[in-house]
Amino acid sequence: MRRWRVAVLGFCIALPALAISIEAGDGRWQANVPSGARQRPNPMANEASAIAAGAKLFQRNCSSCHGKQAEGNAKHPDLHSDRIRGATPGELEWLLKNGSLKNGMPSWSRLPEPQRWQLVSFLKSLN
């Protein structure tokens, strides 16, 4: 019985350590975007309804970290930024799908792809 307790405790400690070591090896998200994903156009670019739906999705899913006006805070970036302005729609959609887990940005792959493009439309409209 003691052997099992030690094994369970060891597993509890080893898993986070493994995940941390993987995290330390990752780079900046933009450099990791595959070229195919980077060049994907937004099928809903400049659609007013997509921007409005994206704003709704932003308030529902993103504003708790990035702020209601996407202004950011000490821990989470301001989305009115040169990085967002300069990113291609494909890069932003890739970031939403994959997240940047080592930096605390969760994956939004659970949102259907059309909703991620609606969010991209909204983010681009901010900039």
């Binding site: 019985m1 099992w4 307790r5 369970v8 597993f11 509890c12 898993l15 986070p16 493994l18 995940a19 993987i22 995290e23 990752d26 990791n32 309804s49 409005a52 739906a53 994206g54 709704k56 999705l57 308030q59 529902r60 899913n61 504003s63 708790s64 970290c65 799908k97 994959n98 997240g99 940047s100 887990l101 080592k102 930096n103 605390g104 940005m105 969760p106 994956s107 792959s109 659970r110 259907p112 792809e113 059309p114 909703q115 609606q118």
Partner: protein
């Protein structure tokens, strides 16, 4: 029966309280038993209750609850505490123990299939009926015994969660291995689930009961015997449609009628759950 009614009333009050609170984010899982690779957002706390009720043939009807507190430690690490209780008609209501689980995403990007490693320690007694998983030779005759909390079960549970999001569909498979730390053999089980939102495109208007807020799916779960008797013999299996409604304001309601697939299974189970997500709880506490 009175204890069962009291328990139902408490669940209803909790559900109403959670619905009328307001925040922004939503809980993650569509299923009751199956896990997908979606993790809790870092810093968010999800509180909720998952309940199951059934009326076993030859036994007393019961209503079991698992109160859950799920916290996003990191974007790749979610920790969750469950407190289990149950009420059985003509018997008693009792606290049946706790479970502490941790889920880790070892791969930091989205892939075709996304693995998650799951480890849980549970300290429950033999009266537990929360049915958060079915393993080994769990069968319906286990529900016929009168409430007795003298037998303690300290168990470790490991799961390999594999999950994919494809064209709006989520497809998840869980392989389960559970061991009673008192020296009993490993028990095995499985759970698989498929779900999809009813609309893939969000509307521009705020809406409450619209297709984009509803998801539907089904899950199937059951036991696979134990180390010395692996297989389907003397095991129970269930198929359960699931409907999830994300009410604007951070609350999610779920319902799932479950049907036993063989004579070892409970003929019918009804699950319902309500959960509420508190965004960035540490920051909120600091502000106050």
């Amino acid at each position: 029966m009175i204890t069962l009614l009291k328990s139902l009333t408490a669940s209803a009050i909790l559900a109403i309280l959670l619905i009328f609170l307001s925040c922004t984010a939503f809980p993650q899982e569509t299923y009751f038993v199956t896990y997908s690779h979606q993790m809790e957002e870092p810093g968010n706390l999800e509180v909720g209750v998952r309940s199951v009720t059934a009326s076993p043939k030859g036994g007393n009807a019961f209503l079991a609850h698992a109160f859950e507190f799920e916290y996003g430690v990191k974007a790749w690490w979610t920790s969750e505490l469950y407190l289990d209780s149950q009420s059985t008609a003509n018997e008693s209501s009792l606290f049946t123990g706790f479970r502490w689980e941790n889920r880790f995403r070892p791969l930091l990007r989205e892939h075709w299939i996304n693995p998650v490693l799951y480890i849980e320690f549970e300290n429950i007694n033999s009266a537990d009926k929360s049915l958060l998983e079915v393993v080994g030779h769990d069968m319906r005759n286990g529900f016929l015994e009168r409430n007795d909390r003298h037998e303690k079960k300290r168990e470790a549970e490991l799961k390999l969660i594999l999950s994919s999001n494809v064209k709006g569909w989520n497809i998840s498979e869980n392989m389960i291995a559970e061991k009673n730390l008192a020296g009993e053999p490993w028990e095995f089980g499985y759970a698989v689930g498929v779900s999809r939102p009813l609309a893939l495109i969000a509307s521009a208007k705020q809406c409450v009961f619209c297709r984009e807020n509803l998801s539907a799916g089904a899950e199937m779960y059951g036991g696979l015997g134990e180390r010395y008797s692996f297989g389907l013999r003397d095991t129970s299996h269930y198929l359960a449609p699931v409907v999830e409604w994300r009410v604007p304001g951070s609350t999610t309601l779920k319902f799932s009628p479950g049907f036993g697939l063989n004579s070892n299974s409970q003929r019918f189970l009804f699950r319902f759950g309500v959960s509420y997500e508190i965004d960035q709880i540490a920051s909120r506490l600091r502000e106050h």
